[in-house]
Symmetry: C2
Subunit: 368 residues, 2 copies
């Protein structure tokens, strides 16, 4: 606890990211590399800090969604940066060249644009090629791919580093679509010679080595999320701790309602913490009347509706001296995992938890 700071604190434990990186490596054979997915500000954790740290760990390939995100992490790494959304705008091709960003090409229009860039550069430019194998999202489908292969001049100036695709159901271990997409990917990938392949995200990495190929693309698992529904014990270490700052300590003088819409009835003597942390800071509104926080060995319930920047906690379980001596409560951390928070909120999914941390929070990166 950094209880001297009188505000909310988000602590990111880099050593846990290193442990998660090692856990992923243990799943892989020697021939498979790890690419780190640091899009969306590294899922809210901090793209520059995480890229710097993973780079030092030996990670040599990074994935972002947009060129703006690519430019941001280019300031901290010289390694390969892939832009998952590709390249659409002829006006920004110079940024890709100057910043050495490598697009993932998702359709024939993007391929034509990037091939033209290579022609102008008078040498081949690197790209990854994304195939649509059943997710129904971005990527070339089979007929576009055959069209492409029939006309090699379309990719004359492109050096394809990897052929990739993305699974729809990788979190569901036994879903038949996983093997179906694997078969489709193998078939389409077989149309190329001497290329490398990438199919697996975090969840698919835990489907087994059939899915690994040459590169796995790891995002959520690095940041402590359980990557698969069949793993009842999360193999990943929790990376983030969120400590809510107590703005006011309140002992009820006479019975009264508490919180918006007057839904909670408090009795004389009940103790409450009013936290300066709410849904805008990244503490989910779905914790309203459902969540718990932790302090001094006690799980304390969230009372009423989580506000924009305030949350009420019933701290009656704490003796008075300890109650007044407390500056922060744990909203997420050693005692309350991301999985716990997800369960409090009817399994809303980790996305609504870790990606929403606000830049108002004080961020501490530790490697302890």
């Amino acid at each position: 606890m950094h209880s001297n700071f009188l505000g909310n604190i988000l602590t990111i434990n880099l050593s846990k990211i290193a442990e998660n990186y090692a856990t992923i490596q243990q799943q892989l054979s020697y021939r498979t590399d790890i690419g780190a997915v640091v899009k969306s500000n590294a899922y809210g954790i901090g793209a520059k800090e995480i890229t710097t740290f993973l780079n030092a760990l030996g990670c040599k390939q990074f994935f972002v969604s947009t060129w703006q995100e690519g430019v941001e992490i280019r300031s901290v790494t010289d390694e390969l940066i892939y832009v998952l959304h590709g390249i659409d705008d002829p006006k920004i091709t110079t940024i890709y060249i100057e910043q050495n960003l490598t697009p993932v090409l998702n359709h024939l229009g993007q391929i034509a644009l990037w091939n033209q860039v290579g022609r102008e550069q008078k040498h081949k430019v690197k790209a990854m090629l994304n195939l649509e194998t059943g997710l129904g999202r971005i990527g070339l489908d089979g007929s576009e791919l055959r069209q492409l292969l029939a006309r090699p001049e379309l990719i004359e100036y492109i050096d394809i580093t990897y052929i990739m695709s993305h699974l729809a159901c990788a979190e569901q271990y036994s879903h038949p679509q996983n093997r179906a997409q694997l078969a489709t990917f193998r078939e389409l990938f077989g149309l190329f010679t001497e290329k490398k392949a990438s199919l697996a995200n975090s969840a698919a990495t835990f489907l087994g080595q059939d899915y690994h190929f040459d590169l796995v693309r790891i995002g959520c698992a690095l940041f402590g999320i359980n990557p698969s529904s069949h793993l009842t014990i999360n193999p990943m270490q929790s990376v983030v701790e969120l400590q809510g700052y107590i703005l006011q300590h309140k002992i009820i003088e006479k019975d009264q309602n508490i919180g918006y819409r007057a839904l909670h009835r408090a009795k004389k003597g009940d103790k409450f913490f009013i936290l300066s942390c709410g849904y805008v800071d990244g503490y989910s509104r779905f914790m309203s009347d459902k969540g718990f926080c932790y302090a001094h060995g006690k799980f304390l319930p969230i009372v009423g509706i989580v506000g924009m920047d305030m949350t009420i906690v019933d701290a009656s379980a704490l003796p008075e001296a300890l109650f007044y001596a407390t500056n922060h409560v744990e909203l997420l951390g050693k005692n309350i995992s991301i999985d716990d928070v997800g369960k409090y909120a009817n399994n809303i999914g980790y996305e609504l938890i870790i990606t929403k941390f606000n830049n108002k929070l004080k961020r501490i990166y530790t490697n302890a």
Copy 2:
């Protein structure tokens, strides 16, 4: 439509904020002023831009939650800035003085600290005093207030500008707690002489002039949110438009599953837009399989689970030429109001919509 920009666009229509400001003014008598609540980056809309604009409209009092937010808007206004969370940390009192930030004092500890600041300044320092009248959150309760009034030396160096409180149930027009809190507030406010008072937020402003006193504090209504459950037609103008950029146009070649978990079955010939906009950008994940977007006179359904930065739309209703000619769809705007989006998502509340816009979105401020 700014269809030349190949990315997501958030348009903030300042003239609609001016209309909403005028609508609020029409509710008020000549003796009541408007204070603008621009906490949380003006509910995600942009604190500096909104403060600048409202200042020019004549607004002379602004509310933020934290001193950091206060410092941000001090760079664009010379008017009064109130910090709702008050002041806790003796180490940052100099920031309050240098930046001319006025705390809302919520308990005796904050009062003691601010009184000490005045003593050191050798003159009275301004503050608002927050009373707890039934919300059960921050603020002095009756006994603390009487303690304070019995010992005037506790506020010897404080110039109290307003006595304020906050209602728990103002959105519920007929809730008995509204009148109960009003009575409590009147009673406690009556203990002061020659002070001004502020009780109403946006919702309470629509409870009638009894609730207005000298200052109303308006946040959500300025930004287009319906402030009260009894107003079946939202009296506020919609302020924001979100246009999702189409990353890929996809016509299905043979029947296939679409989206994560393979929940949607698409038929040959179905048309889909893949948007480069997802929940990290502020498009709610609760739109998954429920929401609609709008293009060319058609309401097009969101298909499958809204991803971190991608969303799939069934655009089969559009003829092929128009389908391919479209770069953006309206996710929020003239045809899809915030209230509509709230309904699509089981009335999750506006908070999850407008406060979550990401800084990855291109923002355009217009006054048309």
